[in-house]
């Protein structure tokens, strides 16, 4: 393996994995042993090894979500040893390497927990509630046309950077998973502040925040109590400042928008 550490010793681990047949059934923790895990593997590759073992034995492999495996898609959502995406700050599960664990460790792996994120199977949860929040207003309606000239719309660099930082949200749902209240406020705030900061977002600014918050509440997410677990567990470092922006966007919109509902 290119770039691998020749001195790294393979590890044997005990995994405690949440197994659940489908949405209707109750799940439970099942213990598995995995052997000869390279410290250079990602956490997901370690689970691939587990699933190959299970398939060889004729057992049902563990269902878990994953897609890009490079920290962009926000699919690989696992609650590892009591932390969203595991104990490493600023990483998704696919970016978590087995070198962060030690030979003989026991690792507990659970799905995201929240009433708005039902478990489909094993470690795979339904996060379509996030999609419905985005559909409620997390977009800019602009008819496409010719490519505008560069710098036609001046945006101060600091504002562009702040909007970009908010835009890095990958919608993984770690904020909801980690929050004591299962609140989606960090996710919604990242989307709202990104678009509120930019000129293109102004047209739908007030309606957007009103509709997204209404949808967020309808989906059954909790209310933010400013605990801060979300930002601490966010793999891309979305800051709590966005929630303050969301609060004042909401307050201003409710006070001044033309929507009477």
């Amino acid at each position: 393996m290119a770039g691998s550490n020749p001195n790294a010793k393979p590890m044997n681990l005990t995994l405690k994995v949440w197994r659940q047949k489908n949405r209707q059934t109750q799940g439970n923790i099942v213990d598995y042993q995995v052997r000869d895990i390279s410290p250079d593997m990602s956490f997901l590759e370690m689970l691939d090894v587990l699933n190959e073992d299970l398939l060889r034995k004729g057992e049902e492999p563990v269902a878990f979500d994953h897609d890009c495996r490079e920290g962009i898609c926000g699919s690989c959502n696992l609650f590892i040893n009591g932390r969203a995406h595991g104990p490493e700050p600023g990483t998704t599960t696919c970016q978590l390497h087995m070198r962060k664990f030690s030979d003989g460790d026991t690792i507990t792996i659970e799905p995201w927990r929240a009433e708005a994120f039902p478990v489909n199977k094993d470690l795979s949860v339904d996060r379509s509630a996030f999609d419905r929040i985005i559909q409620a207003g997390g977009y800019v309606s602009v008819n496409t046309g010719g490519v505008p000239d560069a710098n036609e719309i001046p945006i101060p660099k600091s504002i562009a950077d702040q909007a970009f930082d908010a835009a890095t949200c990958i919608g993984c749902g770690a904020c909801v998973a980690a929050c004591k209240n299962a609140s989606a406020m960090l996710f919604v705030s990242a989307k709202v502040s990104q678009l509120a900061l930019l000129p293109q977002g102004q047209v739908e600014r007030k309606t957007r925040v009103e509709n997204m918050i209404a949808q967020m509440d309808k989906e059954g997410f909790g209310a933010c109590t400013n605990i801060g677990s979300c930002a601490a567990e966010c793999p891309v470092g979305i800051s709590l400042e966005n929630i303050a922006i969301l609060n004042r966007e909401f307050l201003a919109a409710k006070a001044t928008s033309n929507n009477l509902a």
């Binding site: 799940g27 009591g82 104990p87 299962a182 918050i213 400013n226 801060g228 677990s229 004042r248 009477l260």
Partner: protein, 224 residues
Amino acid sequence: MSWLSNALTSSIGRKIIMAVTGLFLCSFLVVHLVGNLQLFKNDGGAAFNIYSHFMGTNPIIRTLEIVLLLGFAFHIYEAVALTGKNRAARGSQGYVVNHIEQNSPWQSRNMGLLGTVILIFLLVHLYNFFYRARFGELDPDINNNADLYTLVVSSFHQWWYVLLYVLAQVALCYHLIHGFKSAFQSLGLTHRKYTPFVTYLGYAFSVLVCAGFAAMPLYFFFLQ
């Protein structure tokens, strides 16, 4: 007005009510503390009794008393409503292993517990001083004001009463450490110029106010 009721019952609206009532209750704490500092005046309670007579009879104060009661009522009601909503959102199946203590401060996660301790203290406190001063039969002092001072002194000579007060002030201090800066966050009042100041002010406010209140029972128990 459905837009208003929708706004105030949304998750952000409830936070905003918590923040506004919380900051209002903070302003009450300052007034209450400053007034009660007269307990330290070495005049056998004359100044304190004049003050408590004024607080019990002035029509503006009596009106604000109702506003204060409403402040507490809304703060507690919203806390209960939010707790219910948030518990339901968390779902029935919890995590088997959850190390939430590694990503957030204890007091921020236990505002309900701290608030309950403060509420129990408040009920005992109101019964012992407010209720007896307003509806009880206190003896008159030398100026013919009801002698609340003597009741305060005798109460603060009981060890369990002093202990309850000091513990309640510790709970209040932690409640305020989270609540003060959290209120500004909920109202969206953050700015890179002012938020660091608000954070320090929150710590200073929490510690100074609670130390001031705790000093009263300790002063009478140990020094008087």
